[in-house]
C-alpha cells in the first residue's frame, strides 16, 4: 500500500484535509483560445486540462485511430471525434504513451459517446465536431476533468446541447476485502486516494439523476455501489452549479464589454 489512509477513521479528515463530501477546488475558464471555435481550461484540484473544439465543420481526411466514431459516422448526424493528449510532464513519472495506447483510446471513445448523447448532433449532418483535449497535470479524477472541460468548450463553441454533461469521482473508505459497514463514501478522489481506494467516475446529464458515464476500475463490494453512486451523482450536481456559474459570468462579462450583443429578452439580465 503506497499510503496510509487509516488515519481517516480518527479525525474523519482525508489526506488533503477534506471531509467526505467535499469537492476539491474547481477553477474553470472558457474562451481561452481566441482562434478556436470553442475552448476551455479546467482545474479540479491539481488535475489541469485544456480543451479546444473545432467545428461543427466539414469532415476532413479521416485520420485513423484518433476518431471516437460516435454519432452515426457523419451521415445523419455530426460525428464527435475526440483526441486526448497526455503531456509527458503531467504526472510524477514521465511515461510515454503512444497514440495506439488502449487506455487513451478508451478515454477518447468514452468522452465522444458521452457528449454525442447530449449534443444535438442531428442538426449538423455530414460534419465533424472535433474535440482536442490536453492533459497538463494529473492528480486523479482525470476522466471527470476531461468530460467537464469538453462540455465547457462545447458550450463556448455554441453547439446546441440538452444539458451539461458533468462528471466527478466517488470512492469508498473500505477496501474490497473488508466488509465493514461503517465505511464512508468519498467524493472527488485525488491521485493518492485513487491508488488505494475503490473508486468510480460518474457523469450525469445536468442536475438530473441520469447517468451517462459510469466507470469503475477497481474491486469493490456490490453493496458499496449504491452509496458511492449517490455521492457521485450529488457531486455532479455541485459541479454543474460551478460550471454554469463560469459560463454565466463569462457571458455577463462579454455583454458588458460589448464583445457580444445582448440577446433578445435578456434586458432584465443584471450586469454587475
Amino acid at each position: 500500500m503506497p499510503l496510509d489512509t487509516s488515519a481517516y477513521s480518527l479525525a474523519l479528515l482525508r489526506v488533503d484535509g477534506r471531509r467526505w463530501n467535499e469537492l476539491r477546488r474547481v477553477h474553470a475558464q472558457i474562451r481561452t483560445q481566441a482562434a478556436a471555435d470553442g475552448s476551455s481550461y479546467l482545474e479540479m484540484g491539481h488535475t489541469k486540462v485544456m480543451c479546444v473544439v473545432t467545428g461543427p465543420s466539414e469532415p476532413g481526411a479521416r485520420r485513423g485511430g484518433t476518431t471516437g466514431g460516435a454519432g452515426g459516422g457523419g451521415n445523419n448526424a455530426a460525428e464527435v471525434s475526440v483526441t486526448v493528449v497526455v503531456a509527458g510532464f503531467s504526472s510524477v513519472d514521465r511515461k510515454r504513451r503512444g497514440r495506439g495506447d488502449k487506455r487513451n483510446l478508451e478515454l477518447q471513445s468514452t468522452i465522444s459517446n458521452a457528449l454525442a448523447a447530449s449534443l444535438h448532433t442531428h442538426l449538423y449532418p455530414h460534419s465533424t465536431i472535433s474535440i482536442s483535449l490536453h492533459v497538463l497535470s494529473q492528480d486523479g479524477s482525470l476522466l471527470a476533468a476531461l468530460i467537464n472541460a469538453a462540455t465547457l468548450a462545447c458550450v463556448d463553441a455554441g453547439i446546441p446541447m440538452t444539458d451539461y454533461v458533468v462528471a466527478c469521482t466517488a470512492g469508498s473508505t473500505s477496501t474490497y476485502a473488508a466488509n465493514d459497514e461503517d465505511a464512508d463514501p468519498l467524493l472527488d478522489l485525488n491521485h493518492q486516494e485513487e491508488q488505494e481506494l475503490p473508486s468510480l467516475t460518474v457523469a450525469t446529464l445536468g442536475a438530473t439523476d441520469r447517468v451517462a458515464v459510469l466507470v469503475c476500475e477497481s474491486r469493490v463490494q456490490a453493496s458499496r455501489l449504491e452509496g458511492m453512486l449517490a455521492v457521485g451523482v450529488d457531486g455532479c450536481k455541485q459541479v454543474r452549479e460551478i460550471l454554469d456559474r463560469v459560463v454565466r459570468d463569462k457571458g455577463r462579462k462579454m455583454v458588458s464589454e460589448g464583445t457580444v450583443e445582448r440577446g433578445i429578452g435578456l434586458e432584465s439580465m443584471d450586469l454587475d
Binding site: 479521416r62 483510446l105 478508451e106 439523476d209 441520469r210 459510469l214 469503475c216 474491486r219 463490494q221 456490490a222
Partner: protein, 293 residues
C-alpha cells in the same frame, strides 16, 4: 476501410417496436441469456464458448521468460484479443477497431486488474525467470455480446489450464514435462464474469441482457458489469450513450450479480465434468501393469 453493414430501417424499427412491447426476436425474456455452451479441448487451457451464434475460442499457453525490470517478482500475464476478418468483414488484421480495443480493455480490467490470477505465484527466480501466461482470444463468429462470451471463455480457459511443474534445487531450475510430473493449475483467486446490459428507448428505460448483433446495432447505450460470485464488482463500464437513471443501473447490478452466480455455477460443473473425464487414476493407473486380459 470496410464499414459494417447496418441493418435496414425497417429491421431497426421492427426490433425497437418489439422491444417496446417486451418481445425479442428470438422469443427470449429481456433478462434471459441465449443457451451458453462450453467445451474444453483435448489440451489443457483450450476453451470454446458458444452463446447463440456467437462463438469464441480461447487458448492459454505459458512459457518461461525474463520479468519486466520494474516488476522483478511478478509473472507476466497478457490477454491478446484478435478480431479477424473471419469474424466479420469490417474487422481487419493489424488495425484494431473500436470494438476490439474496448473488448481488450474490458477483459484486461475484468480479469487482470481485478487480480483474478496471482501473478506473484508465477515467479520462479526473482528478477530472472518467471512464467509468462498468455491468453489468446479468437472470435470465430460475432452475433452480439462478444464481451460476455469472451470473458467467460477466458476465465474457463485459465481455470482449465495446467502449467508444467517446476522445482528449484541448488540454484538449478528444472521444468518437468507432463510425463515426469503432473502439470499444476494456476494459482487462481476469484472468477469474474462480465454481464452486459443494452439500453433502449429515449430515456434508456428498457434494459436487455445478452443482446444479439441486430439488437446491439439499435441500442442507445450499454453497460458492462463484471462481478464474481462473492458479490464483488470488479469493473463497471458504461462508456457514454444515452443517460440512464441511476436507480435503474443499481437494479441492473443486482440482476447481474444473480447472473454471475449462475455462470459461476455452470463453469464449476463443467470443470468438474471435464476433470472426471480426464481422470484415469493419474500416474498410478498409467504405471500399473494390470490389463483387461
Amino acid at each position: 476501410m470496410p464499414r459494417e453493414a447496418e441493418p435496414s430501417l425497417n429491421e431497426k424499427q421492427f426490433v425497437l417496436q418489439a422491444l417496446k412491447e417486451d418481445v425479442r426476436l428470438d422469443g427470449r425474456d429481456l433478462d434471459q441469456y441465449r443457451p451458453l455452451e462450453l467445451t474444453f479441448g483435448d489440451q489443457h487451457g483450450v476453451a470454446e464458448v458458444t452463446l447463440g451464434k456467437t462463438k469464441v475460442l480461447v487458448k492459454t499457453s505459458a512459457e518461461v521468460t525474463v520479468p519486466y525490470p520494474d516488476r522483478p517478482l511478478d509473472g507476466i500475464f497478457t490477454i491478446a484479443t484478435e478480431l479477424s476478418p473471419m469474424t466479420a468483414p469490417s474487422f481487419e488484421v493489424n488495425r484494431p477497431t473500436e470494438t476490439e480495443v474496448l473488448l481488450a480493455r474490458l477483459l484486461e480490467k475484468t480479469v487482470r486488474r481485478s487480480g483474478a490470477l496471482d501473478t506473484e505465484s508465477l515467479c520462479l527466480v526473482a528478477g530472472q525467470k518467471v512464467w509468462s501466461v498468455r491468453v489468446d482470444v479468437h472470435v470465430l463468429s460475432h452475433d452480439g455480446n462478444l464481451t460476455d462470451a469472451a470473458c467467460f471463455a477466458v476465465v474457463a480457459s485459465l481455470r482449465h489450464f495446467r502449467k508444467p511443474d517446476t522445482s528449484m534445487e541448488g540454484g538449478v531450475l528444472t521444468v518437468y514435462t507432463p510425463a515426469e510430473r503432473e502439470p499444476v493449475p494456476l494459482s487462481w483467486l476469484h472468477s469474474p464474469f462480465c454481464i452486459s446490459w443494452s439500453f433502449y428507448g429515449d430515456m434508456g428505460e428498457i434494459a436487455v441482457l445478452d443482446a444479439t448483433w441486430v439488437e446491439e446495432q439499435v441500442r442507445v447505450g450499454s453497460c458492462t458489469i463484471s462481478l464474481n460470485r462473492h458479490g464483488e464488482i470488479c469493473q463497471i463500464a458504461k462508456l457514454g450513450g444515452t443517460p440512464v437513471e441511476a436507480v435503474a443501473l443499481l437494479q441492473c447490478t443486482s440482476v447481474a450479480l444473480a447472473k454471475a452466480k449462475e455462470l459461476s455455477g455452470l463453469l464449476d460443473t463443467k470443470l468438474a465434468e471435464d476433470a472426471k473425464r480426464r481422470d484415469k487414476g493419474g500416474l498410478l493407473a498409467e504405471l500399473s501393469a494390470e490389463n483387461d486380459r
